[in-house]
Subunit: 409 residues, 2 copies
């Protein structure tokens, strides 16, 4: 939090723009290092990319990870992390870090997530221990899911915690509206998110580390006028970058449309600002996102499905997923993917062996599939990035969509 | 199971004997490679050293691991493992493997373990799903803890499964008597164990892979005459090696005495046979075991306590244990051990960070502490082995007992 910004940091350098889509490739020059874009950002939610060490994440080829403000302020607490020199030092990740604001998590306690809605889970059902005590203009009062203590998070709190965590990129505190809310609620919420954006930027200007970039967040639900207005409103504040958040729709087609409203607008009003798409990371979504001009993505998918026994493979007919819990894997002597250079495939582990480890409830397998999944996604982003630079994105995207492995596309 | 034994394999070469104790150092030449002794053998119970890959186990410096006949016959089944070329190929561990016979596990379903007794747990309490249906001269009928299916294990079954698993060293099927049983029960059980030894050796001679070594197991409980008789009886059958099993007493002093009865006897009747001590692995026990002339050890301790948040450190006053779940670790910026070259310490993870990960229930930390603990034990065995070879064991053992790190002793 005290180091000066080195010359040339805190800037986004676009190096190539595709001729037939909104795609671009470049480099984010950040306080703790460079990130080549487009890039996927693995989740290090609570101070670790689940089951991996920072050295392994680096060796997979990732240049930035995401930490979670909400979880880290609850455990171990932002002051303790600051005492250790910030999140990067505390967790021994030497590269750039983006922290999300905590808005998504704190509001999820009340709203439930889109996934909850889709799956019919109750937002206050079993397993959700924290809860919202009140939301007003100041922010949100809630109970800690760890010890039940009353806590508060508002725009200034979020920015202060992110300053203590010492991330390279902080996200402003916003309300992440779920899919089911009305147009009227979305309008009011989006307006409040814009007021909170102003408070975040003010706090950061007065108190934040100068080397920390701050991204505004576009809301507006699934309403085109509101998305476009929100995009323009956020861009008008001139933040260091712009994230696209909130409900993106009930299916992929709607999601792509909602994102395109924002990126169309951004191409006009902030063509050189870096853009982050929050919480999206399916293989087809990453391809489409790059075409829409997104620079960075974060998503739980590759790590979460890995922990549940599903590998990411080049199989569009099965949503790029291979479920190793199924009995068909029991005697399958194949690797997860032919030609794959991930730590699991290169050590020769078969699908049958992984199926056995899943049945035997051995944590080793969560790790093996996590390593494979992140390796696949890292190579996918490498391939897309190179294709933008070479201006061969249409052919590469078509090959990937038809089931080529990233290392063959 | 079909490869011929290479010239010079299947033999134990003692290279040095200490002048002031029973300790010796040497090399076990096995089908799949050499193992320098004295050595600790990490548990790969269900086909993985929990949370690690074989490459990591190798990099820690271990040359042999232990697989579990009982667990592997239940899941994934010995035939499937055989179809994949044996346990080593299935789990991608290229080095030697010792398999235990399953006797300990199958009888534990009925008896409970010594640890259960000490801690007052019921052998048939919650969490134990398998159970014994009957024990007779043929073997043991029991219910699978996976699906409740009725299964059988006797001497021939155990040897057949171990042949299918393709381990370098198979252990004979024995009854592992718990501490609480009477002298009369121990006598009867030990006699049956000797009859089972004959059946195991007969089966193996007729059907087993010639490159697979078979170790007999000494029983006899805590009764000196029975231990000595059992040792002599096992040695008289001339197995490839001898393991010391069963109840070794209610405290460390008694355990050392019980082991010494067996090793004293072995020094007379089988001085050149390799000796394995089953299920023992505390730091002080390893030092004493080496002094008593034990060549190999296996134990769940370093991996199990690691998964529960306890690190092995050079602190004799705390039984060489550091409990990272305790609040004192919360802001402790020290590494687990100064000068430690383990993957966790060399990546710079602090006790505070590990404490945080434990609180946050992140599996990453189970792995980090497992890596540290096994590294500590590997270096301990290296140091003891070198000390036997140099004939400096008394001074090295004294330094280790007074709290030196193995890399400083």
């Amino acid at each position: 939090m005290t180091q000066p910004s080195p010359a040339g940091s805190n800037r986004f350098e676009i190096q190539a723009r595709a001729s037939d889509s909104q795609a671009r490739s470049g480099v984010l020059h950040l306080h703790r290092g460079d990130v080549r874009t487009p890039a996927f950002v693995p989740l290090g939610t609570k101070g670790t990319v689940k089951s991996l060490t920072p050295r392994e994440v680096d060796q997979l080829g990732f240049e930035m990870i995401l930490g979670n403000t909400f979880h880290l302020m609850i455990q171990p607490g932002a002051d303790l992390v600051a005492d250790f020199g910030g999140l990067g030092e505390f967790m021994r990740w030497p590269g750039p870090i983006i922290t999300d604001s905590g808005g998504f998590q704190v509001f999820s306690m009340g709203h439930g997530t889109v996934a909850d809605e889709v799956k019919g889970r109750s937002a206050n059902g079993p397993g959700r221990q924290g809860r919202i005590l009140g939301i007003d203009e100041e922010g949100v009062r809630f109970r800690s899911y760890v010890d039940g203590a009353e806590m508060f998070m508002g725009p200034e709190t979020s920015m202060e915690v992110q300053a203590k965590l010492g991330s390279d990129i902080a996200l402003v505190f916003d309300e992440c509206t779920p899919f089911h809310v009305t147009r009227e609620y979305t309008a009011k919420s989006t307006e409040r998110t814009h007021r909170w954006l102003d408070r975040c930027l003010s706090w950061h200007k007065a108190n934040g580390p100068e080397w920390q970039m701050v991204y505004g967040i576009v809301q507006g639900g699934v309403y085109e006028d509101m998305r476009r207005e929100s995009t323009a409103a956020v861009a008008a504040r001139n933040p260091d970058g712009i994230a696209i958040g909130g409900s993106l729709g009930e299916n992929k087609e709607q999601m792509y449309e909602v994102v395109s409203w924002a990126t169309d607008e951004l191409d006009r009003v902030a063509p050189d600002s870096p853009r982050h798409l929050l919480g999206i990371g399916d293989v087809d979504d990453l391809i489409r996102g790059v075409e829409l001009g997104i620079d960075t993505f974060d998503c739980a998918m590759p790590t979460r499905i890995g922990r549940h026994g599903t590998a990411v493979v080049a199989d569009p007919g099965n949503r790029w997923r291979l479920d190793l819990t199924r009995a068909t894997a029991r005697d399958d002597s194949r690797l997860l993917a032919e030609g794959c250079g991930c730590p699991a495939c290169s050590e020769g582990f078969t699908r049958a062996y992984m199926h056995h480890l899943i049945r035997a409830k051995e944590h080793t397998v969560m790790r093996l599939i996590t390593l494979h999944n992140l390796y696949f996604i890292a190579r996918l982003m490498d391939r897309l990035r190179d294709a933008v630079a070479d201006n061969t994105l249409p052919a590469v995207a078509a090959a990937l969509r038809s089931g080529a492995n990233p290392w063959d596309a």
